[in-house]
Amino acid sequence: MRPSRFYEGTAIIIGIGEHCIGPDPVATIGLGSCVALILYEPRRAIGSMAHVMLPDSNGRTDRPGKYADTAVRLLVDGMVAGGCRRQRLVAKLVGGASMFAQFSGNLNIGERNTHTLKALLATEGIPIVAELTGGNVGRSVVFTPSEGGRVMVKRADGTCCEL
């Protein structure tokens, strides 16, 4: 994957179900009910991000970044393989909104994505140091491991905030 222009800087842009591990800035656009799962190792300034769409893989293994359960495994293993100490990993979560209450019935996928990720991170013993989840707004996010794991979240109306 190559870096592209993303707002003020450049970043590797990942799509739905994709992921990226390494020291470079990573971004993903237009999170609705999807959740950006971000792991960060502060000492080595290495990070990873997955654009998670659904909570449960039901045994599928071909797109690990797409599901909460496989994505947590993928990012943790990938970072440990890259030389990170798993005790130092911290997590940030962005997304999990509910955009269309009318069509989702009683399945709030955004909430289930967030909930599942939190439960899995707790099992792994990885603390969630920041999150911006829920609500009913779309979010784009850029994560810069080299700047202290800075996460910028941008909304459709242009307002930004930092996690």
């Binding site: 179900g17 656009i29 999807c34 769409m53 509910s98």
Partner: protein, 203 residues
């Protein structure tokens, strides 16, 4: 599911007819000429959707497909925020484009969406011989990619690809650009292909 070129052509033609009906109603509402692009139909991997649908501030009028087919899939009128303002200004006789979309604008957009998408589905019903009805519409004004990916997450099957049917309706006079996106789920698509096949012969 894999589609043959002939199947893609058949769906493009179906969309073409639907879009022409929608363009006619938009033209009547705005009392001006509407140009329609040749519909694009692409099978897009979900990871690549962000290259087709961005995070621009947009108005999405979303309908679930209902009617004689089992409910399945969505049809969406997608308008950029700027176009949406020019569109409602034209309808409501206003000129200010530097403002938020008010409640008036929102109900105008819902109505435009309703009329255009109903015309689209009327057009396709004539060809298919069955009626796809739109559900009551939902309006979301936010990032286009956020809305579309949230819809995909609620579709029946765990999908890795979507059929992105997209046609552009353009009103040069008022600089209004809109897209119609048709996202049938697997079962609806199978039904549609079966019906098209019964009209056109085996594909």
């Amino acid at each position: 599911m894999r589609l043959t070129d002939v199947q893609l052509d058949a769906i493009r033609e179906l969309g073409n007819i639907g879009a022409a009906h929608a363009a006619t109603t938009l033209s009547q509402m705005l009392m001006c000429q509407i140009n329609m692009s040749v519909p694009e139909i692409q099978v897009v991997d979900i990871g690549q959707i962000c290259n087709h649908i961005g995070d621009d501030y947009s108005a999405m009028v979303v309908f679930q497909l209902q009617g004689e087919l089992e409910p399945g899939g969505y049809i969406v009128l997608l308008v950029s925020r700027e176009s949406a303002l020019r569109l409602t200004n034209t309808m409501l006789g206003m000129t200010d484009t530097d403002r938020d979309l008010s409640e008036m604008d929102q109900s105008a957009l819902l109505e435009i969406g309703n009329i255009m998408i109903s015309a689209f589905l009327d057009g396709t019903a004539m060809l298919l011989g069955i009626v796809m009805l739109p559900s009551p519409p939902a309006l979301v004004i936010d990032m286009a990619h956020a809305g579309m990916s949230s819809l995909l997450a609620t579709m029946d099957a765990d999908i890795d690809e979507v059929i992105l049917f997209r046609t552009e309706l353009k009103d040069e006079e008022h600089m209004v650009n809109s897209d119609i996106l048709f996202l049938p789920d697997t079962r609806t698509l199978t039904d549609i292909l079966r019906l098209l096949e019964s009209i056109a012969g085996p594909m």
